[in-house]
Amino acid sequence: MKTGLKGLDPRSKLVLVLCLSTLGVFIQDIGILTAVLCVSIALSTASGSRLFVLIRKFRRILWLFVAIAVIQSIFAPSGRVLVSLGGIKLITAGGLYKGVAMVLRMSIVMVSATIMATSNSREIVQGLVQWKVPYEIAFMVSVAIRFLPLLTDEIKNVVTAVQLRGIELDRIPARQRVKVYSYLIMPVVSGAVIKSRELATTMETRAFRAYPKRTSYMVLTMQRIDYTVIITSLITSILTLILYIKC
């Protein structure tokens, strides 16, 4: 028997994740966003996700976050100019603030999503079904979750394949770089489309939706800790939002 947050019902995790990401999306204040991010990290670790392993895996694309912050700040300039280039305001205090907030927000959504990933997809579908979500939709959600790691594998493959053609990624001239990045996305997207088509055909051949009602072998039950988690997270986030809007 799992204890504490590790054994949570997928539905409680879902509520928790929704609360955290709602806070992340609505709040503009960097201080509060940082606090929410800290709470997300703490909860994610407590629920047994492999957060730090994931961060280590994705450290190569962390610079993308910095790029997003800078781009945000270029396109939404306001306030004092910090860096300018030939009359164009490159980095402004207001823009930088927005950029940092954006990065924090994305981090919150991603970190809280790792909480969800600690349930297996079968449990998540079952949780949704018991909440009267139509099975088709629940199934789609589970497929999305199931296929995400495959997508990252695919990107890794393409990166390997490009390098094996004798190309050193860090020596590509800047002008060509965009093109090479587009190569990384292409097979991933078309691979996903092809796979989903095949999956749809397979489901048809196995008579998915042949009967309107399905019986589940697995039945989830909520424990006291589940109710505690749901109620606490709802109350805390609603209070935070109210306080935030009032002040």
Binding site: T160, L164, G166, K179, V180, Y183
Partner: protein
């Protein structure tokens, strides 16, 4: 004797959180030889090929390429010397058209326009892909993808080739064409290690046959 092109010295490898696949394997591959690697499914042939090209890095032992320890070489550096064909050709196709798939690496390496054009059209002809040159690579059939992947590897003129089951998905005629092309390359002095179950194909080309079982070499015949 002559220097080996690729040398594996007491190499062991295990996938993350799995039992070891290859344990203490030593092997020398020469540019002057056509080496065939055979063995039952799951005997570690693909894993061995990926270790030789640096896609997988061994936990123990070292891989020496052209006299240099490959641990210090980047994948891009190894790729300039060794051409590798994935067992699943879909994994190494990424450009939006057949022609671009073959030409893009040449463009990045700064070849001239005329040179690229002549090498690409030559390669399209060799692999019978000329009338597919503007096709979308993801829609090709398995055999066409295989030919495209091989063409794209060969156009870079590597010194050594590692091909993982190159004849899978090819019809009899295309197999013959491929073995003709490989024979031509062999005469030009390009070293080759080919993983294959195809007896006819191997018998025609191989100077040396290595048989693997359970991650070990059980037979090495010259």
């Amino acid at each position: 004797m002559i220097e080996p092109y690729i040398e594996l010295d007491d190499v062991s490898f295990a996938y993350e959180r799995c039992a070891p696949v290859i344990g203490g394997l030593s092997l020398k591959l020469y540019k002057e030889q056509f080496t065939a690697i055979t063995g039952p499914n799951g005997s570690g042939k693909t894993t061995l090929g990926k270790i030789m090209t640096g896609i997988l890095r061994p936990q123990k032992g070292c891989v020496i390429i052209c006299g240099r320890d490959s641990a210090g070489m980047k994948l891009g550096e190894i790729g300039q010397r060794i051409g590798y064909l994935f067992q699943n050709p879909g994994l190494q196709i990424f450009a939006p058209s057949v022609q671009e798939e073959i030409s893009f690496a040449l463009g990045l390496k700064g070849c001239s326009k005329e040179e690229i054009d002549s090498r690409v059209s030559r390669s399209l002809r060799d692999f019978d892909l000329t009338n597919l040159s503007d096709a979308f690579p993801f829609k090709l059939s398995r055999g066409e993808k295989q030919r495209l992947a091989i063409a794209a590897v060969l156009v870079n003129k590597p010194d050594f080739l590692i091909l993982d089951e190159p004849t899978t998905g090819l019809d009899m005629e295309r197999r013959r064409a491929l073995s003709d092309i490989l024979l031509g390359l062999k005469e030009k002095g390009i070293g080759m290690a080919v993983i294959s179950h195809d007896r006819v194909f191997i018998d025609r080309l191989a100077d040396r046959t290595i048989k693997m079982h359970g991650g070990e070499i059980v037979e090495d015949r010259t």
